[in-house]
């Protein structure tokens, strides 16, 4: 009886620890070799044949096709530079420049990776659409309210993620965060 109870207890612990760790790893998007610059994170290795088992499992669970490294690199931001979660009811400003790339796009998704409906049918910007300052920098205002300049509407959703994809770029597995990879700063300007 004691042996039965004991092994049952050990098996329950194993199930809770094992499945709990798997669930956490998949919902937090854990994978090896992240490249973090400010609030932006990319996993360049996920877009290669060397993708680790965590990256493979996460890709399968989300059901997306990862951006292949020969194509580009995708950076995701779900917080501002001070670590506060992005809120679709706030005014968030993306300001700065991007690393050298032939093209880039920035897109707003809800946490499930779906586009967010809005009145002007704008889901993101490409590097050619953006209005820039004289010095080449740009500013994108992410807010539910209509805004002059580069306005990316949030549709008022509570949580969203921004994905900045660099296409045909030198940023890759060997890139270290530093001066050669400047990413736009993400700042929450005001919250109602």
């Amino acid at each position: 009886m004691r042996l039965l109870l004991g092994s049952l207890f050990a098996l329950v612990v194993a199930a809770i620890v094992g499945l709990g760790a798997t669930y956490l790893a998949l919902t937090r998007g854990a994978a090896f070799g992240p490249l973090t610059i400010g609030s932006w994170t990319a996993w360049p290795k996920t877009g290669t044949a060397d993708a680790d088992p965590y990256a493979r499992a996460s890709i399968a669970r989300i059901g997306r096709l990862p951006t292949a490294l020969g194509d580009g690199v995708a950076f995701t931001a779900s917080t501002d530079d001070r670590g506060r979660l992005l809120d679709g009811r706030c005014d968030v400003v993306l300001a700065g420049i991007t690393p050298a790339a032939r093209f880039w796009t920035v897109t707003l998704y809800n946490p499930d990776g779906e586009l967010v409906a809005n009145s002007v049918n704008r889901f993101g910007f490409t590097s050619q659409e953006i209005v820039r300052h004289a010095d080449g920098g740009f500013e994108i205002v992410v807010t539910p309210r209509a805004n002059p300049g580069n306005w990316l509407p949030t549709g008022g959703v509570e949580r969203y993620v921004l994905v900045l994809r660099l296409y045909d770029t030198a940023v890759g597995v060997s890139t270290k965060a530093g001066r050669e990879v400047p990413m736009p700063a993400v700042t929450i300007r005001s919250c109602p």
Binding site: A10, V13, A60, R64, L65, P66, R102, F123, V163
Partner: protein
Amino acid sequence: MIRWLLLAFGGALLGGIVHLATIIMLPRTATQDAYSRLAPGAPVNTVAAVPAPTPESAPMPFMDPAFASAVCRYDLSQGPLKLSVPVSLAYTSVSFYTRYDVAYYAINDRAAGRRVIELDLMTADQHNQMPEDEEITAADRLIVESPTLTGLIAIRALAPEPGLMSMAQSAIAAAKCVRAEDPKPAR
């Protein structure tokens, strides 16, 4: 007391094994991965356009709405495949994925350096079986080795502005992915 602590420790160790096993098994058991989502609309060894994502429906999550895309779901068991993709004005890329959505190769229009991206896709075995002189005549074609018999080729063209989307779509529509004919006798 010590007995229960030991059991908890043993259980946690076993839990680590359960964790690794589930992580490794997951891609093989997932029913909603990108390949399964795209398979109903993509016949084997044919280029099929992928509808652009909208807030209401998207073929898969995290698609870039600035791109026109198409997929070729391939099966190399009958022989190698020939792929040709005309490049669009802005940016065109071709990415290769295994059955379990691992990207193993990608090329873009600049790397291809031509107006048409032309590739031969085959398994390592098929590549080894190619007659040597065939390889010389085919030297100007790029050969990609697929690690798996089946997989996906994602063909994507950027529309730098929304107005150029139709241009990108028509470039993609001219892409071809067909089974290579039996090797010609050496001349």
